[in-house]
């Protein structure tokens, strides 16, 4: 280890203190407040209310129903689609894979808004189309998006891509020879699929099911948009409603605890599912898998895939563009009726647009910079075991993964509305929230980047006489540059889309874009909502495209 001044202790203390401010304090206050009565004494009454009052029990049950259904639907859709894309000779497989990834660019609450435009019982474009075709009276509707089924459908639309990516990647990495060996022993294609491919992919699918469950469990935007008009609550919207006047933070804190506990448990289960590893790669080079011939099924398969993609991608974006450029959102826009009125209104007349955009860019830039730096520091310390206690740092940096956004929002609210750090009402509290939420993913990205830079590359520099800092600057930094930039972009994008913590923590002075869109829902200005949503998606797409370009540049790969 290094000689000279030992900086490790101060750095460790500083980083640990920072993480404590970000994680330990909010979660601590959350637990304390949930166990405190109005008079300040210890009580379990909040939890008693939680598990007896139907206004809490019903949302809990609803949330579990939604999560289970979403999880099942995602697996049923994503597994066959992932298999088609990764393992068969379906046409356009590459395009479809890219489009599924692209559908992740859509923030779920924007998707929910778009589906309102499509399938609201009266004004929904699909329902209008149906009435036009069938001649049904105006009070008849084919779809009602304001329903439990509608909500489950919309959440599934924006969750199945996660499962899809897991499954497709696992199938990509599964050595083709494992299937070839089965064919050589006389197994027919479908026997090989049943006896070899499916059992090997099962742990991944299980992990995917848990990811989908978690996603549905902790989502705030879509239920807030679709469930509340339908007259029911999920756990997250119920917690949010406790912050509406008159606020009941102690109940919100108590209601956050089951969400926190469930998330921790599910994450452990997921780690176990993936940790057993579908297969041990046993040395040697594996051949790429042979694609399965679909024959006459090729065309039906690709039509099915495109139909699935219409749900999260084609239909919602058609609806958003329609609303953005139409004077009346519920009419289909034609060449005569197309207008820039909504764009003008949103950017020139709506007084809250510019402050929100400014706040959003400020926060996204600051969160991305701070988050990437923090993650880089922790990743270096952990990857190179640069100081004692590095494991603790790694654990703390991963911990926020287990804290749902809305729960962190509640915790931060409770921790920073009181001295010594009364940050509520400032942008700082949002900065802390965003950095905390994005830290685990950023740390994992940079951690694996450090793994790819073999320590021997640094040691070779040291042996030739460069100091530790010099090798870091000359060798490690250039090799990591694109990973750091990618992480920065990732945090930037994630911050722009974040709603569930922001919706608890914003004040009228600190509105951000996502909250503005959510707020406009109340006033019902669909045109402005569509314009702002498309703006958000456009910014996201540009940043992601830029990051991809940087990442795709020829990079020295470790030999």
């Amino acid at each position: 280890m290094t000689r000279g001044i030992d900086l490790s202790r101060p750095v460790l203390v500083a980083v640990a203190a920072l993480l404590a401010v970000m994680i330990v304090l909010p979660v601590g206050w959350l637990l304390v407040v949930s166990l405190t009565s109005k008079e300040g004494g210890f009580t379990l009454a909040n939890f008693a209310t939680l598990f007896t009052d139907p206004t809490f029990v019903d949302p809990l049950v609803t949330t579990l129903i939604i999560s289970c259904s979403v999880s099942a639907i995602c697996c049923l859709v994503a597994a066959p689609l992932g298999w088609l894309v990764a393992r068969t000779d379906m046409p356009l497989a590459r395009t479809i894979r890219t489009l599924v990834m692209a559908s992740l660019v859509t923030p779920p609450f924007v998707g929910a808004i778009a589906w309102e435009m499509l399938a609201a019982p009266n004004s929904g474009l699909l329902n209008q189309l149906w009435r036009l075709l069938s001649g049904m009276p105006p009070d008849e509707a084919l779809f009602d998006i304001y329903s439990l089924g509608g909500l489950i459908f919309v959440i599934s639309c924006y969750t199945f891509p996660y499962v899809f990516i897991l499954v497709a990647n696992a199938l990509d990495r599964m050595p083709g020879e494992l299937e070839d060996a089965s064919s050589m022993l006389g197994a027919k294609t479908w026997q090989t699929a049943r006896l070899i491919t499916v059992p090997l992919a099962l742990p991944t699918l299980l992990a995917g099911a848990l990811v989908a469950f978690l996603q549905a469990l902790n989502l705030f935007g879509s239920p807030a948009i679709l469930a509340i008009p339908a007259g029911f609550h999920t756990l997250t919207t119920r917690i949010w409603s406790l912050f509406q006047f008159p606020p009941k933070p102690e109940l919100a804190a108590a209601a956050s605890v089951p969400l926190l506990v469930l998330t921790v448990l599910l994450l452990r289960a997921q780690a176990m599912a993936l940790g057993r590893r579908g297969y041990a790669v046993l040395g040697g080079k594996y051949g790429a898998p042979r694609p399965i011939r679909l024959g006459w099924l090729r065309v039906p398969a690709v039509i099915l895939a495109l139909f699935v993609l219409a749900m999260p991608l084609f239909l919602p974006y058609a609806a958003l563009f329609n609303s953005a450029f139409s004077r009346v959102a519920s009419r289909i826009v034609g060449p005569d009726t197309i207008t820039l009125h909504n764009v003008k209104f949103t950017f020139l007349e709506l007084s809250s647009t510019m402050p929100a955009l400014k706040n959003t860019f400020l926060l996204a830039t600051a969160s991305a910079t701070l988050g990437a730096l923090l993650a880089l520091m922790i990743a270096y310390i952990v990857a190179r075991k640069a100081m004692r206690g590095y494991r603790v740092l790694g654990f703390l940096a991963t911990a926020p993964l287990a804290i749902p956004g809305i729960v962190l929002g509640v915790g931060l609210f409770l921790a920073y509305t009181r001295p010594p750090l009364a940050l509520y009402g400032t942008l700082w509290i949002l900065l802390i929230a965003f950095v905390t939420i994005e830290l685990p993913a950023a740390y994992q990205q940079l951690g694996s980047a450090f793994h790819a830079v073999h320590p021997e590359l640094e040691e070779a520099g040291r042996m030739l006489g460069a100091t530790r800092l010099r090798t870091l600057a000359d060798i490690t930094a250039p090799l990591l540059r694109s990973a750091v930039i990618a992480t920065w972009c990732f945090i930037f994008v994630a911050t722009i889309r974040e709603l569930s913590a922001a919706v608890i923590l914003f004040t009228s002075e600190t509105k951000v874009l996502s909250v503005l869109i959510f707020d406009l829902k109340e006033s019902g200005d669909v045109g402005a909502i569509a314009v702002l949503s498309l703006t958000m998606v456009a910014i996201t797409t540009i940043v992601i495209a830029a990051a991809n370009r940087l990442h795709a540049r020829p990079q020295a790969r470790p030999a």
């Binding site: 064919s183 050589m184 006389g186 197994a187 090997l200 041990a280 594996y286």
Partner: protein
């Protein structure tokens, strides 16, 4: 069991030719090695035989039946073959016993037969104690034996091996070479074996097909390949040979580095350039000049000498700068810088085919 016959087999990927007009007959019960450097088309040839890929031209016949042709290819599962993969391709979610019994279950044999066959093969492969282990819990050599057992238990008509030993360490590799030959002698399957290791090919094969750039350069028993290489590529690839650039003087003699050599192998036409190969350990090295009139002697200077235990390895530079490697008995030590006479026996100087 049946003979495997490749007839004018070719495989093209766009403009690239992976296998180029290969014809080869593997007799019933024979073990043929496809030997060559990476990229020579040997693995593609094997995968063509297995039915994983379709030929662009030519046919593959097994036991007189056409299994592969550009118009129709029987899928791998319909070929009654077994294959051993470089990575072993053991299924990590099945135990050793389940892996080995898989092919028997696919063949819908009854429980008792499966158990009996499983027991027999596990004992032959010395795997009884490991039957309930998972592949991840086995060493490389054990995985290799499971892979062998899984391929053999179904009693295939044809056995294919794709670089089966390349993932083992040196000691184990040598042991397994003999193991594979022993199992072959016991079961006598028609076997095609792909490797880039000439020692592996020498120990195991009845016939070696040396491949280069998608073509079979030379086909013959190991001894013939070793002693009578037909092309410069084979001479260099099999190793231990010097290849000299010479010019033909008449039908049998060539001039090289100011001396003359009598050669065998083919008749030459005077004035043409010709490559001559001669094995390192066939060359005699002496301090004394040969008696006058003696043929096939060249003078040179020792430029390097290495003691290798059982032999001594010399590098000798001739008058025109040509370097020759000479393997000599270790007893006599000639220091670098000494002038020496080399004897290249005429029957060991092979004139190689023109490239």
């Amino acid at each position: 069991m049946a003979a495997v016959e490749l007839k004018g087999l070719s495989k093209r990927y766009g403009a690239a030719v992976a296998v180029d007009d290969v014809s080869l007959r593997v007799e019933h019960g024979q073990l043929v090695c496809l030997l060559g450097p990476s990229g020579c088309g040997k693995t593609t040839t094997l995968r063509l035989i297995a039915g994983f890929i379709e030929p662009s031209a030519g046919e593959i016949e097994v036991g007189g039946k056409v299994l592969s042709s550009p118009s129709r290819t029987v899928p791998p599962e319909g070929r009654k073959m077994s294959m051993i993969f470089q990575s072993y391709a053991l299924w990590p979610h099945m135990t050793v016993a389940e892996n080995v019994a898989y092919g028997l279950k696919i063949r819908k044999l009854d429980r008792a037969t499966i158990d009996a066959k499983l027991k027999a093969i596990l004992s032959t492969a010395r795997l009884e104690a490991l039957a309930d282990r998972y592949p991840g819990e086995l060493s490389g050599g054990q995985q290799q034996r499971v892979s062998l057992a899984r391929a053999l238990v179904v009693e295939p008509e044809t056995l294919l091996l794709d670089e089966p030993l390349s993932n083992l360490d040196a000691n184990l590799r040598e042991e397994m070479r003999f193991e594979i030959r022993r199992l072959h002698d016991q079961y006598r399957y028609t076997t095609v074996y792909v490797t880039h290791d000439q020692a592996e090919a020498m120990t195991t094969a009845d016939l070696i097909a040396v491949m280069n750039k998608g073509r079979v350069e030379q086909l013959g028993p190991p001894e013939e390949i070793y002693t009578r290489p037909r092309s410069e590529f084979v001479a260099r690839f099999i190793g231990g040979s010097n290849v000299l650039a010479a010019t033909a003087l008449d039908e049998v003699r060539v001039s090289v580095a100011g001396g003359a050599l009598r050669t065998t192998g083919r008749s030459l036409s005077a004035g043409r350039p010709v490559a001559v190969s001669v094995r390192q350990h066939e060359i005699g090295i002496a301090l004394e000049p040969p008696s006058s009139g003696a043929e096939n002697h060249l003078q040179g200077t020792v430029t390097r000498q290495v003691f290798l235990g059982s032999t001594r390895d010399y590098t000798v530079t001739l008058a025109d700068g040509t370097e020759l490697r000479v393997t000599a008995p270790p007893g006599r030590n000639i220091a670098p810088g000494q002038s020496v006479w080399l004897h290249l026996p005429a029957e060991q100087c092979r004139a190689l085919a023109e490239e």
